[in-house]
Each structure stands twice: as structure tokens, then as C-alpha cells.
């Protein structure tokens, strides 16, 4: 089949699925909507695989030109898709993980009244995400960028009767929009200096630009990435986004959408390579986010919130990798993270499902006997994220750590510390959920096969995912890096100067520490029977962390409240006291003038006659002697 048609069908099928499901949502009964949705994504996945197999990385990117989207003046933005190593990688992740999550959702959303709407939105999301990663220019990417934001908004607020969920959805959308501001401005600037937004053309033209311009553009693009990928200071929406159904959290807020920022930077690696200052900003933003989010994660009691903070933290790691210029390591972590974080979320979903909606880990415990498959897969996911060899997380995280060590040992130490904290809270989560005695009052039951099969598949991927980019020290050839190098010039420029012995030593150190931390967590949480107190009753430091460093409160005081106040003030003072009186003043002036002039209208006819005669005389004299 023609590659263009194939490429168009990849996002086209989910879109079609969304439209069909939305149109037929009233007549679709039972699981049919879910099956239809899964079928659409599954076919997209199959097509992606076909594209992958048919793609020759050495031949460079293939551009599937559909039609001219915006064409005015010197701006020619085609609606075109780019198929290359990078977009293929993302496509495979999105459609692959997406298919599994769709399948899982059939079981998870089985009882919901609006299941058709759910699948329509999920399909729509996949469509937007595919646009994002497949776009051949920044504008198409931006369509997807906003589209995923929209779907995220809709899915977070899926249970719309709950005001808190709606608030969370709105928060997510607005914070994303703040990021979009940066993105749009970056694009406007980029277009202004290069006259194009098509990736290939832009990258050819940036070389001659001044460093200030490039720094500015990349910083603006990075602002966009911050919003979408939930980095400091815009990460607070992501934990709240857990209000959505769990498969949504898995697909959107863990595996795919939040990695859009990473994708954007990798895609623009040419620009970022030329702007070292921005790279440093990326690096430190990622580092701080990784640590802050990890510390918050330790004191969360909601199973999904823990995973959410872990997502933020892991995204921080990816940004660190990008800031170091280790794009392939970042992408590798994106891939493995998609596997194991989706697995963890789905596992959490399975737990929640098993307990009939319970999300508080303090009311769980001892579930490992009751829900065996979930337990096993969750354990595998936890091991993967903790970085135990030979699970996938080990390789991807180690690649980042090694690059960090190459830059500075302090950086390495900080990141390793973050990784250890991650291990700690993940195992706290694991032990509190599955070990010890059951502390709740529901009767746990294992999820149906339609939910456990995706778990198993993802578990397998989490275990073996590391093979995708097996480093040299293990005898691999980093196949993913070489594959991606064809797509992003920045990857080709990567270099890592570490002796094999150093690498071995670093791995050994991290593994040993991780195991130590697991043991610590086991000791503290495995047999825990008492409940943790509420956040408010904790001492200061833990309370600070459990309260997310009071960031939400800070933002509320700093932005939300003043904004509402400003709105009221503008309306009351600006409109009420200044604008309208100003206008009324003009009217009143006219009225006054009228009142003065009307005195001349005495109503006395004789007076009018005299006035008329006087007027005639004056005019006559004027015409006589006027000139």
C-alpha cells in the first residue's frame, strides 16, 4: 500500500473510530463501543508496524503530504505527516500501549453508563496524540498538542457531576495552555526568523541564527514542554488529573501525553544543541522536578497520586537526559516508562476495581493472595521502576545516570538519591497494598481476563524492554539509539566518555543501594497494621511534603485569588467607575449644552420673528460686505 495513505490512516482510524462511536453512542450496547474503539487503535497499531517494517532508516524521513492547510503570504503550512525513526517510535508506543489500555478499559469501564463516550474520547485522544508525533511541521504538532490537552480535559472531568473533578480538569487545561503560550510564541518567532515551520526546512536554516534568538526560541518551546510534561512550576495539574478514570491516567497521564514535551525537545534537538543555555535550563528544571516530586511521593496515601508523583519525577529524569544532550537515553526512558508506568497504573486500576473504588492504600493490605495476577504484574512493574537489573527501568535509568556522571558526580549523586527515594515510595506502595493484613472492609476479587491480559503483556514488556537499547557493556549495540540517530541530528551527536569499568561500578552501586532501600521499605511497611495519620497531623517536614510543598496553596494565593479579585475589580472599578462614567459624562455634557441652548427657545413667536429678521439682516450684510 502507498505509504502516504498508510501514514494518513494511522491517525485516521482512531479519528474514524471516535466519530463512529460518538455518532452511534446511543445504539452501541455492552462492550461493542469498547471493541470498536480497540479495533480502531489495534488497526492503527498494525499499520504502524507495517510502516515500521517498511521504513528504511537510512533513507531519511518520509513525508506524507496530504493537502495545504494554511497557505497565505509567505506561510505555507502543509497538512503533512513525517514518518521517520522518531515518529515511528512514538507511534508504536502510542498505538501499542494504547491498544492494551483500550482493551483493559473494556473491563474497567464495563459498568459505566457513558462507556461509549469514554471510548470515543479515548480514540479521539489517540488521534490527537498521533497527529502530535507524526506532524511534519510544528503546526501539525501543535494541533495534536492542543488536541491531547482537550481530550485530557474531557477525560479528567469524565465524571462531570463531581465539582472537584471538574476543577482538576480545568486546572489541567489552563496550565497546559500556559505552556502552549510559550509554544505558540516560540513557533511565531521561529517562523519569523526561518520563514518555515516544516521540520526539515527549519533545521536546515537554523545554523545561521544568532545564539540569543535560538536561546529565546528554545526557551519558549521548553515552556510548552513544561506545561505538557508537568515539570516545575507547572506540574501541579498532573496529580489532580488522577480524577479521571484509571485507564486515562495510564494512557494520557503516564504513557503518552505527558511525554509530548520530551518528544518535542528530541524533535527539536538541532535547535537545542545550538542553545547550551537552554539545555542547562532543561537539565536543572528536570533535576529539581525529579527530586521535588519524589519527595512528595513518599507521603501520599492515594495509590494513584503516588504513581502520579512518580510520573512527574520520571519525567524529570527524562528532561535531565535531554538537558545533558542524551536524547536517545531520554527516548529510551520514555519507552520503558510507557511500559512500566502503564503497567503500574493499570495494576492500580485493577486493585481499585478489585476493591470497588477504594484508592487509599491505608485501607488496603494483604492483597497478594486475593488478586494474584495483579500482584505479580504490579511487582514486576515496581521492580522495573526501581531499576533492578535486568528489568527495563534499570537500563533506561542507568543510561541517564551514566550520562549524568559524565557531566558531574554531584549531579549523579542527586539523581541517584532521587532514584532511591523513588524505590522507597514505590515499595512502600507495594508493601502497603499487597503485604501485611487487609485493613479495608471490601471483598477483593480478581479482575476479568480482558483486564489481566493487558497487564501480562505490559509486564512482559517491562521486563524485556531493556533489550531495545541494550548498552555496549552488556554486549548490546544500543539499537534504539542507532535507529533514532537517523531521525534526530542531536542523537547522532551524542557522546559518552565512560570507561566500561566505571559503568560497571556505577551500576553495581546503584543496584546495591536500591536493594538496600527495598529492604528498608520492607522492614517499615511489609507488616504494617496501623494507619498513617492524616496529612494535617504530621510534623512539619512530612506535612510539607504530604502537602506538596504547599504549591497548590501558593498558586491559589498567588494567582487564582488575585485573578478573581482582579476580574471583580476591573469590572467594578474599571467599568463601573471609569469607563461607563466617562461615556455617561460625554452624554451629560451634551445634555448640559442642550439645557443651556434651550433657554433660547422661549416659545414667544414674536421673539422668533425678531430673531429671524435679525438673522436675515446679518446674512444679507455678510453677503454684501463679507468678502
Amino acid at each position: 500500500m502507498n505509504t502516504t495513505i498508510l501514514a494518513a490512516l494511522v491517525p485516521g482510524l482512531p479519528l474514524l473510530g471516535a466519530i463512529v462511536i460518538a455518532a452511534l453512542r446511543r445504539s452501541l450496547k455492552g462492550n461493542s463501543a469498547g471493541l470498536l474503539g480497540t479495533l480502531a487503535i489495534g488497526s492503527a497499531f498494525a499499520l504502524s508496524v507495517m510502516l515500521f517494517l517498511g521504513h528504511d532508516p537510512a533513507a531519511g524521513p518520509y513525508t506524507a503530504h496530504l493537502f495545504n492547510w494554511i497557505d497565505i503570504g509567505g506561510m505555507h503550512i502543509p497538512f503533512a505527516f513525517q514518518v521517520d525513526a522518531l515518529s515511528l517510535t512514538m507511534m508504536l508506543i502510542v498505538t501499542g500501549v494504547g491498544t492494551l489500555i483500550h482493551l483493559y478499559s473494556i473491563g474497567y469501564m464495563h459498568d459505566d453508563a457513558r462507556v461509549s463516550t469514554f471510548f470515543a474520547l479515548l480514540n479521539l485522544f489517540t488521534f490527537a496524540m498521533l497527529l502530535l508525533v507524526m506532524g511534519a511541521n510544528y503546526a501539525i504538532t501543535f494541533i495534536g498538542w492542543e488536541g491531547v490537552g482537550l481530550c485530557s480535559y474531557l477525560l479528567i472531568g469524565f465524571w462531570y457531576t463531581n465539582p472537584a473533578y471538574n476543577y482538576a480538569a480545568r486546572k489541567a487545561f489552563v496550565m497546559n495552555r500556559i505552556g502552549d503560550l510559550g509554544f505558540v510564541l516560540g513557533l511565531a518567532w521561529l517562523f519569523n526568523v526561518t520563514g518555515s515551520l516544516t521540520f526539515t526546512e527549519v533545521f536546515d536554516r537554523v545554523a545561521g541564527l544568532g545564539p540569543d534568538v535560538l536561546t529565546g526560541i528554545t526557551l519558549l518551546l521548553f515552556v510548552g514542554a513544561i506545561g505538557k510534561s508537568a515539570q516545575l512550576p507547572l506540574f501541579t495539574w498532573l496529580p489532580d488529573a488522577m480524577a479521571g478514570p484509571t485507564p486515562v491516567s495510564a494512557l494520557i497521564h503516564a504513557a503518552t501525553m505527558v511525554t509530548a514535551g520530551i518528544y518535542l525537545i528530541v524533535r527539536s534537538s538541532v535547535l537545542f544543541e545550538l542553545a547550551p543555555f537552554t539545555q542547562d535550563v532543561v537539565l536543572y528544571t528536570g533535576l529539581v522536578t525529579a527530586l521535588v516530586a519524589a519527595t512528595i511521593g513518599v507521603f501520599q496515601n492515594d495509590i494513584k497520586k503516588v504513581l502520579a508523583y512518580s510520573t512527574v519525577s520520571q519525567l524529570g529524569y527524562m528532561f535531565v537526559a535531554l538537558g545533558l544532550g542524551a536524547y536517545s537515553a531520554g527516548m529510551f526512558h520514555v519507552t520503558t516508562h510507557a511500559f512500566f508506568k502503564a503497567l503500574l497504573f493499570l495494576g492500580a486500576g485493577s486493585v481499585i476495581h478489585a476493591l470497588g473504588g477504594e484508592q487509599d492504600i491505608r485501607r488496603m493490605g494483604g492483597l497478594k493472595g486475593a488478586i494474584k495476577v495483579t500482584h505479580l504484574t504490579f511487582l514486576l512493574g515496581t521492580l522495573a521502576i526501581a531499576g533492578i537489573p535486568p528489568f527495563s527501568g534499570f537500563f533506561s535509568k542507568d543510561a541517564i545516570l551514566a550520562n549524568a556522571f559524565d557531566r558531574s558526580p554531584v549531579l549523579y549523586a542527586l539523581l541517584l538519591g532521587g532514584a532511591l527515594i523513588t524505590t522507597f515510595y514505590m515499595f512502600r506502595l507495594y508493601f502497603l497494598t499487597f503485604w501485611g493484613a487487609y485493613r479495608g472492609d471490601k471483598h477483593p476479587h480478581e479482575s476479568p481476563a480482558v483486564m489481566t491480559v493487558p497487564l501480562l503483556v505490559l509486564a512482559v514488556l517491562s521486563v524485556v524492554g531493556g533489550l531495545l537499547n541494550l548498552p555496549h557493556v552488556f554486549g548490546g549495540h544500543e539499537p534504539m539509539k542507532h535507529f533514532l540517530a537517523h531521525a534526530a541530528d542531536g542523537i547522532g551527536a551524542e557522546r559518552l566518555h565512560l570507561e566500561a569499568s566505571t559503568e560497571w561500578m556505577l551500576m553495581g552501586l546503584s543496584t546495591a543501594l536500591v536493594v538496600l532501600v527495598i529492604a528498608l521499605a520492607h522492614g517499615r511497611f511489609a507488616k504494617k497494621a496501623t494507619l498513617d495519620p492524616e496529612a494535617d497531623e504530621l510534623p512539619f517536614l512530612p506535612r510539607l511534603l504530604a502537602r506538596k510543598w504547599y504549591l497548590d496553596e501558593l498558586y491559589e494565593r498567588l494567582f487564582e485569588k488575585p485573578y478573581g479579585w482582579l476580574s471583580t475589580m476591573f469590572h467594578r472599578v474599571g467599568e463601573g467607575w471609569v469607563m461607563v462614567p466617562l461615556m455617561n459624562g460625554a452624554g451629560r455634557l451634551t445634555q448640559r449644552a442642550g439645557q443651556v441652548l434651550r433657554l433660547a427657545q422661549t416659545g414667544n413667536m414674536s421673539f422668533y420673528l425678531f430673531a429671524m429678521v435679525a438673522g436675515i439682516v446679518v446674512f444679507l450684510l455678510m453677503t454684501l460686505y463679507g468678502r
Binding site: 434651550r598 427657545q601 422661549t602 416659545g603 414667544n604 413667536m605 414674536s606 420673528l609
Partner: protein, 109 residues
């Protein structure tokens, strides 16, 4: 030149102009002078006629019938005006029982 025309032009145009000015001024003064609305209406007629006279004089001295046609139209308008004016007068008498122009002071702004 025909004798009739010669006869007409024996009186210089300026005299006609002066006469009509005098008549007009008399009418105007009357309109200002009197309070009786019906007299004021008559003064208006006097002014009309002075203008008519002037137009006719010009027309005759100029041998152009247009002026006289114009006088004809003025008369038409005057007739219409008088009709309406007198009707208003009757109304006024009926409503305020007076034809004093100063009674019509409701036009106050």
C-alpha cells in the same frame, strides 16, 4: 422695439425694486408690530405680493415668461398657506379663545 415694451420700460426697474422693498418692509414691520395673528397673516400676504411684483417686473423687463409663471406658483402656495393658516387660526380661537400671537408660547424648549 414694440411700443408696449417701450411703454413698460419707461419706468426704470430700480423703482419697482424700491417699491417692492418698501412694501416688503411694511409687511415685515407689521408682522413684528401686531399681536393679532390674523393681521400677521395679512402682513405675510403683503410680503408675498411685494415679491410677486418684483418678479413680474423683472419678468416684463426681461421678456421672460418664467418669472410670471413663478408668480403664479407663489400665488398657489400663498393660497394653500392661507387655507391652512386660517384653519389654524380657527383652531386657536376655539382652543385658547384668543388670536393673540403671544398665547402661542407652548413651543418652549
Amino acid at each position: 422695439m414694440e411700443p408696449v415694451v417701450t411703454a413698460i420700460r419707461q419706468v426704470p426697474l430700480e423703482h419697482y425694486v424700491a417699491l417692492s422693498f418698501i412694501l416688503f418692509s411694511i409687511g415685515l414691520t407689521g408682522a413684528l408690530f401686531r399681536r393679532n395673528t390674523i393681521i400677521i397673516l395679512m402682513c405675510l400676504e403683503l410680503m408675498f405680493n411685494s415679491v410677486n411684483l418684483l418678479l413680474t417686473a423683472f419678468s416684463a423687463h426681461h421678456s421672460d415668461p418664467g418669472g410670471q409663471v413663478f408668480v403664479f406658483f407663489t400665488m398657489l402656495v400663498a393660497a394653500a398657506e392661507v387655507t391652512v393658516g386660517l384653519a389654524i387660526l380657527v383652531m386657536m380661537k376655539r382652543n385658547v379663545d384668543s388670536v393673540d400671537i403671544n398665547q402661542l408660547n407652548r413651543l418652549k424648549g
